[in-house]
């Protein structure tokens, strides 16, 4: 009897929590769609803003955000996975690797504005990159790298030891084993980590405000500055142009949603390839 009551209570609690979180999500999405969609025209995506009231579209911002995100992906992917492979497979457990892990865990919790400040001092001024996509991407990379590193490391550690034994036992070298057995097995989890990291970078404001800048021009080279969608939204909202701000939010939402769909699709593909 008491077991049934406990069971029922646990179920009810789970339903309540799940229901609440879905409700919150729906309210946010609903708000953005209701306020952003009415004034939305396709031209919004392909024209530049103009005038003091920042009317017109967000084309330069889409380019800036995409450029920044792509560059971050290109930096964080290889560096994060490479460092994770080293930590998990080759470095062993010693004082240095413990220190690296501790540092990564600490950095993962640092507010993004602090990374922005560091990026401003180090990349923008000290390395004289100026407000640029490159400075922004490097700052974003530093911000998301710790999480990428730790998640990838866990993914590599989660690969069963029997795969390594099997491969080494057949005469393969450590490198061959790592590259062609361990990494492919860890790939789904690492790809998810990468997509989530990149999603975070795409949605970041504080860290790019002081590093990529606010110029509303279309950046074509890494050393040019640009204004991301998030920074544009921030400027619109703080100057009181609420309706265009919601339109930008709608674009951001659509992009983040497609990131997540892409992640889901990738996972499904990997699973089909490896597990049957």
């Amino acid at each position: 009897m008491t077991r049934r009551v406990a069971d029922w209570t646990a179920r009810a609690a789970a339903w309540a929590v799940a229901g609440a979180s879905i409700a919150v999500l729906l309210v946010i999405i609903g708000q953005i769609v209701i306020r952003g969609l009415p004034g939305f025209r396709l031209s919004f995506l392909v024209t530049a803003p103009h005038g003091i009231k920042m009317e017109g579209g967000v084309f330069p911002m889409i380019v800036a955000s995409s450029f920044l995100t792509l560059l971050t992906l290109l930096i964080v992917g290889p560096v994060g996975i490479g460092a994770a492979v080293y930590l998990a497979e080759f470095a062993g457990d010693n004082r240095l690797t413990r220190l690296v892990r501790f540092a990564a865990d600490t950095l993962a919790g640092v507010p993004s504005i602090v990374f922005g400040l560091f990026g401003l001092a180090f990349f923008v001024y000290f390395l004289q990159m100026g407000y640029s996509i490159l400075a922004g991407a490097l700052t974003l990379s530093m911000m998301v790298l710790p999480t990428m590193l730790r998640v990838s490391e866990e993914a590599i550690r989660a690969v069963p030891a029997s795969y390594r034994e099997g491969s080494l036992g057949l005469g393969a070298t450590r490198w061959q084993t790592t590259l062609r057995v361990v990494l492919p097995a860890a790939m789904p989890a690492m790809a998810t980590a990468l997509i989530l990291s990149v999603g975070r970078a795409f949605g970041e404001t504080a860290a790019v405000l002081y590093t990529a800048g606010m110029t509303p021009s279309t950046p074509l080279l890494p050393l040019e500055g640009g204004r991301t969608l998030t920074v544009h939204l921030y400027l619109l909202a703080t100057t009181g142009y609420i309706d265009p701000a919601y339109r930008v939010a709608l674009v951001l939402l659509a992009v983040i949603l497609s990131f997540n769909l892409l992640a889901g699709w990738l996972m499904a593909r990997f699973r089909r390839r490896f597990v049957a």
């Binding site: 036992g169 057949l170 005469g171 057995v181 492919p184 097995a185 049957a276």
Partner: protein, 258 residues
């Protein structure tokens, strides 16, 4: 040429401070099946792994003594580990195919040895799968994931994978313990066929299995708990299972302890 495929002389293995095996001497005749039996935790896996140096893959171990393989010391500084593990293949307790296709699993050893020719790989894959009695079941789905096979098929795939690099010795650590009786029977039949061309060392907990398939049997045990294990008795399986020379062997094979 020696009449032994591999010869252990006074081999001792320690995990850190914990001495696990002491003074094991064992000569495995060519083209024979040798079973290693003994109570759980006595070091059968450690012993079989010492033959192709896979102990050092899982833990920090210190091995002393000599393992003579083809006139060379396996633990000598001139031993090439890749060559060693190719020539002495290993099949593990749990089937451990890679999360790759059936073809890629079997081709793994050859590919990692730099063999790329599609034709050559295809031939080797077919030959190995046939040798492992798996060809008929999988020939039409070589590009499917290996993890989609049944447990018994996975284990035969692992055997095929080991055979693909044409080893001389096949080490099998409880290859049937995760399998049902029918799959076990098929692996036993397979071992019977394979011994014409390979030397096989097999660890098993199943006395009937050892008696059925092994020409020779080694019984391994520690004199006292917390002491390193030694070979109590080694001889023809018929002797070990019908007229054991040592009373501990008799107690063990008749199931009175262990």
């Amino acid at each position: 040429m020696s009449e032994y495929a591999i010869e252990l002389r006074n081999v001792s293995v320690a995990y850190g401070d914990c001495q696990c095996l002491a003074d094991v001497s064992l000569a495995i005749p060519i083209n024979s099946v040798v079973a290693l039996i003994g109570p759980s935790g006595c070091g059968k896996s450690t012993l079989i792994r010492s033959m192709n140096r896979t102990n050092e893959l899982v833990a920090k171990t210190v091995t002393t003594g000599e393992v003579n393989f083809g006139g060379r010391d396996v633990y000598g500084s001139r031993m090439d580990l890749r060559e060693l593990r190719e020539r002495i293949g290993m099949v593990f307790q749990r089937p451990n195919p890679f999360p790759k296709s059936i073809f890629d699993n079997v081709a793994w050893g050859l590919r990692s040895n730099g063999i790329r020719g599609r034709k050559r790989l295809e031939e080797a894959v077919e030959r190995s799968l046939r040798a492992a009695a798996l060809w008929d079941a999988v020939s039409s789905k070589l590009d499917q994931p290996a993890l989609g096979l049944s447990g018994g098929q996975q284990q035969r795939l692992c055997i095929a994978r080991a055979l693909a690099v044409e080893p001389e010795i096949l080490l099998m650590d409880e290859p049937c313990s995760a399998l049902d009786p029918i799959a076990t029977q098929r692996i036993e039949d397979l071992i019977d066929e394979l011994k014409e061309r390979y030397t096989i060392v097999i660890v098993t907990h199943n006395m009937q299995q050892a008696a059925r398939i092994a020409d020779f049997t080694a019984f391994l045990m520690a004199e006292q708990p917390h002491e390193p294990s030694r070979i109590v008795e080694f001889g023809r399986s018929v002797e070990i299972f019908t007229r054991p020379g040592d009373e501990r062997t008799e107690a063990y094979v008749t199931g009175r302890f262990g």
